[in-house]
């Protein structure tokens, strides 16, 4: 599997290192499958300043090594694992800022952890930005809640915007930190032109929003944050993750968005992924998209009729009202997407974004469309 060319950017093997997969330097690598566990393991040999280093056996997550390509950046970690953290031909690359979050949303697909990882990821990301190739068009910033990094997040964004003046940066945040106008002001002084900020809105009613995000005052802070961002003309995408608690007010949420947040650039209604906290809170939060078909239709068409850009993410076409098909976006990353056996007969399969392959449960209503 790996018998090729790897350039190592940091020769201290005791540290975690970023390995830039390139054709410059020829090194060897051995790959084998552990007979007991079926794990794929590799060992790489790399050369820096004429000194050869041999890595430990590295456990490989197969999903990171599907279609590895020249230009990808791998992270070789001290625990002996190797992770593909930047894919040269992907538009879904992200800088992961932290596992911490000041919300704890009931349907979070990557539940936050209360660990002090800010320095670790800050250093890693800073190094990663340094070596990112100039061909990068788009980069995401995600977590956890990235703004927990506070001012150093702005430093990172500045680092990106300075190196790549034309890049599109998509920052995913719950928006609460932006209720501090000084923070927004500081952010505006750097990457405003490049920045596109995605913020979830769970309800138009603060109690529901706070309950879904399991945090008091979350709604008010997010709403103030949105107004502060608007004041500085940031580009904002509002994300409404449809769930059992908010679906009945979807149309009212859409009215609320048009009346109170008409300055946002895009609204995305999103289906849930049955992973993370969703299985745990299954009874309170999970809902089959087919059950909110009508509510979703009304709210999407309502916003669209007011000239607001609106899309539907993460819901297979067979669970959507036919009027919404044109709003559906293939939003699930290539390596995550899944189509079922019955999907083979569906005439809309090519246009369909499919389902989450990572989801532990799927709607029983997924069925082929024939006409």
């Amino acid at each position: 599997m790996l018998n090729q060319k790897i350039k190592c950017l940091d020769y201290n093997v005791f540290d975690e290192v970023l390995i830039y997969y390139t054709s410059d330097r020829i090194l060897t690598g051995f790959c084998f499958v552990d007979g007991d566990t079926n794990d794929i393991k590799i060992q790489i040999v790399f050369e820096v300043d004429n000194i050869q280093f041999e890595s430990k056996y590295i456990l490989v997550d197969p999903k990171d090594f599907i279609n590895i390509e020249i230009g990808d950046i791998l992270l070789f970690r001290t625990n002996g694992t190797l992770k593909n953290i930047f894919r040269i031909n992907s538009l879904d690359n992200v800088l992961f800022i932290t596992e911490q979050c000041n919300n704890n949303c009931l349907m979070c697909s990557q539940p936050p952890k209360n660990i002090n990882d800010l320095d670790y990821y800050y250093n890693l990301n800073s190094k990663l930005i340094e070596i990112l190739p100039y061909s990068v068009l788009k980069i995401g910033i995600t977590g956890g809640e990235p703004t927990i990094l506070n001012d150093r997040l702005i430093v990172l964004i500045n680092q990106i915007a300075t190196k790549f003046p034309e890049i599109e940066i998509q920052l995913l945040s719950n928006g609460r930190q932006f209720s501090d106008i000084h923070y927004v002001h500081k952010l505006s002084e750097i990457g405003k032109k490049n920045l596109f900020i995605g913020i979830p809105l769970h309800s138009d009613f603060y109690v529901d929003h706070d309950y879904i995000s399991q945090s008091n005052n979350a709604f008010n802070q997010t709403l103030k944050g949105l107004y502060n961002l608007a004041r500085y003309s940031f580009s904002i995408e509002l994300r409404v993750i449809v769930n059992k608690i908010n679906y009945k007010r979807l149309e009212k949420i859409s009215d609320y968005i048009f009346k109170n947040l008409p300055f946002i650039n895009h609204v995305a209604f999103m289906g849930m992924e049955y992973i993370g906290l969703v299985p745990k809170y299954n009874k309170i939060i999970w809902i089959d998209p087919i059950e909110y078909k009508e509510d979703l239709k009304k709210s999407v068409l309502n916003l669209s009729s007011w000239g607001i850009n609106v899309s539907v993410f993460n819901i297979p076409l067979c669970l959507l009202d036919e009027n919404l098909i044109i709003y559906s976006v293939k939003s699930i990353s290539d390596w995550k997407v899944k189509y079922f056996l019955q999907c083979e007969d569906c005439i809309l399969k090519v246009d369909c974004g499919g389902s989450f392959g990572t989801s532990l449960k799927h709607s029983p209503n997924i069925k082929p469309i024939f006409n």
Binding site: N220, L223, Y227, K252, F258, K259, P262, S305
Partner: protein
């Protein structure tokens, strides 16, 4: 427990319409207001969520999102941001038509005392440039302004030169009956991007009858065609006035607008100025006008639902106030009023007036709304004693009968009209024709929104998205 935020309500059909301070509405069952005020709304009721999220009630005495709400209020009132933007120049009151409803007291004469002087023009243009607004509309009115073409040309050219240093965005509008649109005029319009606003009352028999002339319609249509060919189709807009005679022909009027290539109409009621009509006649007129408007609007909705885009512009203005969070700059229906805040008139007589209607009063020797001479200082005119006095009654938030009206946010104040029709600046709502007409139209629109949602909303939204 919860606290009340300011809101107003009105019963309509079997509902209560609740409207908050920024004009957002909720359609609720009868008795809802009473329940809200007597604190009978339960936190588990769905309506409790609606009321909280739409700023009708609050969990705390001051809502947590008061700053956001303030931003929304500022947005709704943002027509005030730049102060006076519409500057009307009454170039002459001479006219070559003889309209039966003429509000401008035009004169069929050659007497040049009815024309604006170059000196008045100079002073007026200087005043116009003193406006803080970066956007200026310079509108030429009459009488028939094309009768003094040289002065229009002079005024535009002078403004262009002064604007080299002032750097304002100027839009020129020429209000003309289009009867004498010759090449000189059209050339000037072409060079300076002048918009032409003309009058068309409907089909030939009706237009001619309103004009008191036999061939007016034919001349106007020729003028419109000529101007469209020369300047482009969208550079000419038309305005109609609903005379007593017009009231019987709503569909014919709309058909004639469509036949003549217009994609909108502004169903404009007579203004009770010029003192042509008796009070009793006018009362009867407005009830008939409301009926006329309803028939016309139904007809227009039907046309749109057949796939042909055609807008009723007065409806659009009201709907924008009701349905959107945005501000509407329409000088006849705003609070604080359009006079002085948004519009001012430089009259041929050398004086500055608060509005078009104000200078019409002056034709009857009533100078109540004359702010002063064009030779006066800007501050003395725009912030002078007269304006201070008018300002006390130019906000419907502070007028009896308006302050508690559910539709306050959609309506406006008009001290000039109050004074003309009811003898004081405050006015008296129960007998006000302004109130009668606007309230009836707003109620009618709500009734359509509630009872014929699927039929009317796509049409209404298509109009609003166009603007």
């Amino acid at each position: 427990m919860y606290y009340l935020l300011p809101f107003r309500f009105e019963r309509l059909d079997n509902y209560e319409i609740l409207v908050n301070e920024v004009g957002d509405y909720l359609i609720c069952p009868i008795e809802t207001s009473n329940k809200i005020v007597s604190k009978q709304i339960n936190e588990n009721d769905e309506i409790y969520k609606d009321l909280i999220s739409n700023f009708f009630i609050s969990k705390t005495p001051i809502p947590a999102l008061i700053d956001n709400f303030a931003t929304r209020y500022r947005t709704k009132k943002s027509f005030l941001d730049n102060f006076t933007s519409l500057h009307i120049f009454v170039m002459t009151v001479r006219c070559n038509q003889n309209c039966i409803y003429c509000q401008a007291s035009s004169k069929e004469t050659d007497h040049i005392i009815y024309d604006i002087s170059y000196e008045t023009l100079d002073f007026s243009i200087d005043l116009m440039f003193k406006s803080p607004s970066p956007f200026i509309t310079m509108e030429f009115q009459g009488g028939e302004p094309t009768l003094v073409f040289d002065k229009i040309k002079y005024a535009i050219e002078k403004s262009e030169i002064l604007n080299i240093s002032k750097e304002k965005k100027i839009t020129y509008v020429l209000c003309t009956n289009s009867v004498e649109l010759n090449d000189n005029i059209l050339n000037l319009c072409k060079i300076y991007n002048v918009l032409i606003s003309t009058s068309l009352d409907g089909p030939e028999f009706l237009h001619n009858k309103n004009r008191g002339k036999k061939n007016s319609y034919q001349k106007v249509i020729e003028g419109i065609d000529n101007a469209r060919n020369f300047l482009g189709h969208d550079r000419i807009s038309a305005l109609m006035t609903t005379s007593f005679f017009s009231l019987d022909y709503p569909k014919e009027i709309i058909d004639s607008y469509i036949e003549n290539g217009f994609s909108n109409i502004f169903l404009r009621a007579l203004n009770p100025y010029g003192l042509v009509y008796k009070a009793n006649d006018m009362k009867n007129y407005y009830s008939r006008f409301i009926n006329f408007y309803k028939i016309a609007l139904d007809y227009i909705i039907e046309i749109n639902n057949k796939g042909f885009y055609f807008e009723e512009s007065f409806t659009s203005i009201i709907l924008k106030k009701i349905l959107t969070p945005f501000s509407v700059g329409f000088v006849d229906l705003q609070s604080p009023a359009g006079i002085i805040n948004s519009v001012v008139v430089y009259n041929y007589d050398g004086f500055v007036y608060a509005s078009d209607e104000s200078r019409m009063l002056a034709e009857h020797n009533d100078y109540t709304f004359r702010l002063g001479s064009v030779k006066d200082e800007y501050l003395n005119l725009f912030y002078g004693e007269k304006v201070i006095k008018i300002a006390k009654t130019w906000s419907n938030e502070a007028l009896t009968g308006c302050s508690d009206c559910a539709f306050q946010a959609y309506c406006g104040a008009d001290p000039v009209r109050n004074y003309t029709t009811q003898n004081d600046f405050e006015g008296f709502r129960p007998t006000s024709s302004f109130c009668l007409k606007n309230k009836a139209i707003i109620k009618h629109l709500f009734s359509l929104i509630i009872n014929r949602t699927d039929e009317v909303m796509p049409v209404f939204k298509s109009w609003l998205n166009q603007n």
